[in-house]
Amino acid sequence: MDFPKVLRPGQAGTIKVKVETGTAPGVHVKSVTIKTNDPNDPSHLVRFAFDVKG
């Protein structure tokens, strides 16, 4: 996973997330937790949902 280590005030960045669908058909939900020094939101959770065809 690539992500910037520091973002300046007002600066934007991207975190590249890679998800493997696997072989199990059906709906799957994965998540990623982004931990930062933000006092109000130290652990930000982002969900990924996909439906694997069988």
């Binding site: 973002l7 975190i15 933000d38 930000h44 969900r47 990924f48």
Partner: protein, 216 residues
């Protein structure tokens, strides 16, 4: 022996009332004629009245009134002078007590003044202690309460400042802005690698440190 041809003329010649009264008495005692006696007494009363009106020698009039020969005078005149005498005596009697009352009043006021002066010092002595300590303690006692309130207010102000400081600190703190919380890839085939960039932004006023990105 005295002969009175004209009693009025004789009375004028006699002058003083006292002499006239004596003359009238002599006249009565000698009993020359009742007519003359009556004339003398009558003239005498008239002279007394006129002299009273002109206020000539009041003291002699008063003295002569005691020396009058009442038998030689008409009873009506006697009643007049008797009433006058009574009034004079009453007036003199009243004038005496009035002076005494004045003196008593003069004596009374000092006592009252003393009594008044006495209470005033007492009041004055009572007032200074009462007034001095009275207002002062309340003010002093009232003064202390405000400081606690002020201190409390100051504490509140400090707390507010602290909160403001924290808010300021928060404002100075970094802020993670991640608009997407859930990403739906839809239907995907098996064994496929999905790559999706997540855009994040630092909305704060401090550097945003990204410590880690952990899959779960």
């Amino acid at each position: 022996m005295v002969h009175f041809d004209r009693p009025e003329k004789l009375l004028k010649q006699l002058g003083p009332i006292e002499a006239r009264s004596n003359t009238s008495m002599n006249c009565v005692n000698e009993k020359d004629t009742f007519f003359i006696q009556n004339q003398v007494s009558h003239t005498f009363t008239e002279l007394l009245i006129t002299s009273n009106l002109h206020s000539k020698r009041r003291h002699l009039h008063a003295a002569s009134s005691f020396m009058l020969n009442y038998d030689a005078m008409k009873r009506s005149n006697i009643k007049r002078y008797a009433t006058l005498l009574v009034l004079a005596v009453l007036a003199s009697a009243c004038s005496g007590p009035a002076e005494n009352q004045g003196s008593s009043n003069t004596n009374a006021p000092p006592a009252q003044a003393n009594s008044n002066s006495a209470p005033q010092p007492q009041i004055a002595q009572g007032n200074p202690p009462a007034v001095g300590p009275g207002p002062a303690p309340p003010t002093v006692q009232q003064i202390p309460p405000p400081p606690p309130a002020k201190s409390a207010a100051a504490g509140n102000a400090n707390a507010a400042n602290a909160t403001n400081g924290s808010a300021a600190g928060n404002a100075r703190a970094p802020k993670l802005v991640a608009p997407e919380k859930q990403i739906d890839f839809g239907k995907q085939p098996q064994n496929k690698n999905l790559v999706r960039p997540i855009v994040i932004k630092n909305g704060g006023r401090a550097d945003l440190n990204i410590e880690s990105v952990v899959p779960s």
